[in-house]
Point group: C2
Chain length 448, copies 2
């Protein structure tokens, strides 16, 4: 989720400067205004009209090639032929719902559950991460008998009524549910405490206590373990463990939202929660699961899920259909066969090293952090740590316009570049990205 | 939505009689129990293991050919080559989100909005009908400032927390929201009133008044205009008009849930609401929109949608992506090029005529109703109208086992066969279906 303020800024700019856009862009942008709801927001002052994708690259209508450093949906690479082949082959045979028997959903479930702790042993499928988190919250509530949900301060968990009410990243327009409580992000760059685990666990306990004081029974803690929207909080490895212990001690469940860190992205592990040595009660997945085919999942401990399933019917028409499952299986196979977890670890480590090197030259870089191909590049005054949102916005525009690199920002101040390319990103792409950042940060205009 | 009781019955039967299933079926059924959540329910005591689909036909793993009289997802026919070709071609080029410009979403929006009243002029896209209805309710609430939602007594509108709370069909396990009110279905077979329009409008007013008395401001009326889960209430044409007038008079919005009657199914019109001569404030779509590719939409009057969009950010990652839009466009093209609305009208009319003929011979048929290829075939005592659920369940099992016809039941009593084949259903299929029903209802064992 890009912070709302960033997107609003570029939209208002675009409205004022529409005449400066090239004619193709202007036609499409105008048409959007005529037929789409106003919720539709574009990236960039000069929006990109994409027509082709392959691996880590995208091409616009003028034939310009871009390096994609943002898309985690096309996680194994844009237009991966194995996903296309699997989807096409299954579409030619059959695509129907789960009231009939089909092997795809069963084979995939066996395979994906093998990647999880043995306690997490039941699968359900939906179409979006929002649907998975919506159901996860309902399951947590049925299992615990509580209503209170804790999330992190800038987190985003979905578009439905229920998940929007648990998504402070949506800003002040979207009211949080009265049963939602927020903990500050585990921001190692700013929080001064000897043990991040202790500090974060104490934040959780404080919110549980606050709920209790207001008569709200605690149901669970819902977190993306890399705290993507909070600005990428990857370290220290294992800091979540004590927080999850506090959750369990207070009778709640831990829902690991793996839409961001899952499917090998962090390099350290296949799932984000594994980096913290915790066993979630519920795991939700989305974006990268089908490389663009809408498929999401909820995986849970049997007894936790049963508390819901015994009471409440749930049927998702498209969820788990043979075509979605074929896409998901192809993604799993490619991650394995192309060794993408190790790849993400190695390429991500070198990228982070080179980005960190840039700090020597550029005082405007406050921090570089991340795991695998999920890197937070924070622009902030070195001494005061004051976030530089304006610089971050200038940089992403300059990267798009001058260097043909697509990325965006995250964090409460909109000053953290979220560098999250498809896992097809190669060692040979590092120079493009790091060189462009070096040049951009050397350009005094960026600081205007 | 099949009523929950029906599915539960067949599940408990299956558990008891597992030994009688053939080995392939038993292996798959057992594996489902091991890896899937218990929400997953199968059709039939002897579940069907499907492996292939084409047009209106399906084949199981033994090569047995079935006539599909139930699937409205594969609405233009299973595995339609034009959808497969469109999806494959677009997958090979690009699949990304709507923060970049792409023509597919714009071209489709222009085309689909042309099928709607001119007042409905803005489009948004999601992945499931549940997501569309979830958003529609939120839009209705922002626009009106109210919270109260009226639905029909046995309706089903989705799987999210918000839509489940507006779906009485889910049964007593799922609590309705305190802001939900139910009107009885406009059941022409049972309601005795000279004017169904007046009667139904009065029901709406009663519920609005009840809300008001409890301090709940009315937001809107959410209805599938063919009242599918209520047991298929298609007539008299136009009866909804007065109800929608009452909705507007009381400051609410009318949300037309077109997941069931939309996309030419009723034969009378492209959209279900058109049959009633009403202009909805919001239209939601789902199942048949992409012929199996998960795509759904929300179409609304500009000012109604703006009330939401001005306040609350909404971004659906997969919604409106170029592949989903290619699938949706192919469906729209096929409906037009294959003249499926007229086809549904003609084939549906003959099918309804022949089914009505069966009433002369079979006293157990209480009523035959419907529009186009959406027919309710109600099994009830002719004199007392007492629903015969047991007969209906026996009939759907017999159709599956002896006649290889797949269908299911609807309505609060589970006694209405919902005959809703893909629109690829042909004149030549009528004999198969009507002949099978004739034989089945002639079999005394069905009445045991």
């Amino acid at each position: 989720m890009v912070t709302r303020s960033t997107i609003m800024d570029t939209n208002s700019f675009r409205a004022e400067h529409a005449a400066a856009l090239d004619s193709d862009t202007k036609i499409l942008t105008d048409k959007r205004g005529e037929v789409l709801g106003e919720s539709y927001r574009l990236f960039y002052r000069n929006p990109v009209h994409l027509v082709k994708g392959e691996g880590q690259y995208l091409w616009d209508a003028n034939g310009t090639k871009y390096l994609d450093v943002y898309n985690n949906v096309a996680s194994i690479g844009h237009c991966h032929p194995r996903v296309i082949d699997a989807v096409t082959a299954q579409m030619q045979l059959l695509n129907t719902h789960t009231r009939y028997l089909h092997e795809n959903i069963l084979n995939y479930s066996e395979n994906i559950l093998k990647t999880m702790p043995s306690e997490v042993n039941r699968a359900m499928y939906m179409c979006t991460g929002s649907e998975a988190n919506d159901l996860a919250i309902r399951v947590a509530r049925e299992y615990t008998g509580g209503m209170g949900i804790i999330v992190s301060q800038e987190s985003y968990h979905g578009t439905s009524e229920l998940t929007s009410g648990c998504s402070p990243a949506l800003g002040t327009g979207q009211a949080l549910a009265t049963t939602t409580r927020c903990v500050p992000a585990p921001d190692q760059y700013r929080v001064e405490h000897a043990d991040m685990g202790d500090w974060f666990a104490a934040q959780i306990q404080t919110q549980i206590d606050d709920m209790k004081a207001k008569g709200i029974k605690f149901a669970g803690f819902l977190a993306d373990s890399i705290f993507s929207s909070d600005g990428v909080m990857s370290h220290p490895i294992g800091f979540l463990k004590k927080a999850v212990d506090v959750v369990h001690k207070n009778g709640g469940v831990f829902i690991a939202d793996e839409v961001q860190p899952g499917f090998a992205r962090t390099g350290d592990a296949f799932w984000g929660f594994e980096r913290h040595g915790v066993v979630p009660d519920i795991v939700t997945t989305g974006k990268p699961m089908g490389n663009g085919i809408p498929v999401s999942g909820l995986f849970a401990k049997h007894d936790v899920l049963s508390a819901f399933s015994d009471q409440i019917p749930y049927f998702n028409t498209f969820g788990g259909n043979p075509v979605s499952m074929a896409a998901a299986q192809a993604v799993l196979d490619v991650i394995h066969d192309e060794n993408l977890q190790q790849h993400s670890y190695e390429v991500g480590a070198l990228l982070k090293k080179e980005l960190t090197e840039l700090m020597k030259k550029h005082e405007c870089i406050g921090d570089v952090r991340g795991a695998g191909l999920f890197i937070g590049f924070e622009l902030a005054d070195r001494a005061s740590k004051t976030p530089n949102k304006r610089l971050a916005l200038n940089v992403i525009e300059e990267l798009r316009n001058q260097h043909h690199i697509l990325t965006s920002v995250a964090g409460p101040h909109g000053n953290v570049l979220k560098l999250r390319p498809p896992l097809a990103f190669q060692m040979s792409d590092i120079d493009w990205l790091v060189g462009a950042l070096d040049k951009t940060l050397s350009n005094p205009k960026m600081f205007d």
